[in-house]
Symmetry: C2
Subunit: 226 residues, 2 copies
Amino acid sequence: MTALPVQGALTAPAEDCLKAIYDLERSGQGAAVTTNDLAHRLDLAAASVTGMVKRLADQGLIDHAPYRGVRLTESGRRAALRTLRRHRVIETYLVQVLGFGWDRVHDEAERLEHAASDELVDRMAASLGDPATDPHGAPIPTREGGIAELPAARPLAELAEGERGVVARVEDEDADRLRYLASLGVVPGVEVEVVERAPFGGPVSLRVAGTPRLIGPQLAAQVMVA
Amino acid sequence: MTALPVQGALTAPAEDCLKAIYDLERSGQGAAVTTNDLAHRLDLAAASVTGMVKRLADQGLIDHAPYRGVRLTESGRRAALRTLRRHRVIETYLVQVLGFGWDRVHDEAERLEHAASDELVDRMAASLGDPATDPHGAPIPTREGGIAELPAARPLAELAEGERGVVARVEDEDADRLRYLASLGVVPGVEVEVVERAPFGGPVSLRVAGTPRLIGPQLAAQVMVA
DNA sequence: GGAAAGATTTAGTGTGACCTAAACTATTCT
DNA sequence: AGAATAGTTTAGGTCACACTAAATCTTTCC
């Protein structure tokens, strides 16, 4: 496209790629992010990622060691955080001000984040009282490019029987799964208690704010509790 | 980019082109819109317009008679009005809810209109009480694709000495000119009276809500009064 | 009516972003 | 260590969107 990005000149695919790298660097501890990981995450052919990576490296946003992986540079990290801030502020605004469903905001924000100016995002944030987290419980980077460490939390899937905690965030972008979790009452802030865990990564039986629920292992891995 | 358009699959440049055609069809009465007009309006080389026109014609959005010009089809008109609605709702929202200046919203809306879903736009419109016009006084197309006729109004530049009226809209997209007009108090709704007109399209001396002002001929041509 | 002027289209380039298929590198397994 | 496997890059193709330069069509003006 060429649909033209707001200003500093990054294209939407480039911003998406940086965001994905940022995210994968966070989860995979310290290891360089591989082409394959990115391809899966972005739903692209690996060869396409190689091309994007080359462009980003040319712009000094990432370091690329061929066949070895990719790492954000300082300026790449800043760009990623700027996009992440946009995304999360927009999500929060859509939910809190415009009444979008928790599970519906992701795609909308995914598009708007590439079109909204920093000023717009700052105004949205200000009108929300500069919230620290988005509706899924993820921290919102500040205007200045800082970001709170993810509050310590373990996946629900790893809690032992009898343990209890409060849902800190839900790390999922799939609307169906989010909707399903929301329908069970599993949203940031509610208290959960693990009643029983099937072995070998089976389903988890729990109490969500008192009522008994059963959720599968994949889902349980996305729900972070503190 | 290919920054990816919201859904039905039109790209941002394509939407911009349709909007421009719609607009030019309105102003030039009945005549087909020429490649050159579009090139000027969109700030592109004429050859680039020919290419875009070909793509739009292939999709049945316009009829193109080579060397003769272009006309919107029914479906092209609908697409143009959808984009126009997005644009004007977004502008209105930015001004009324987020406190943007009247003169600053255009560029922001220009980008957002290609990323915002119909649902988002409808929610914005609803939260504004489904306004009929945008901050510049231009009518906002409805959800259903209708649009009010532009209220009858003449350019300020054509009023005779002694005539008075109310500013209906300001047909300009240039932020500097809008800011200047706003600084003179020339915004939709205010009463103006022509005190004196220099001949041969010279400046116009007027009273804006009582206070004397002087504005040049180009600007006066953009200010529509009823 | 024909030639100059002006508008429009065609031809040929370049870039970003995607793809598949083939070549290559690194790792892992015996 | 060498071969199979898995992951990565290169090669080559496509499409949308821009450009300039060259052809072509229309109109307008004697």
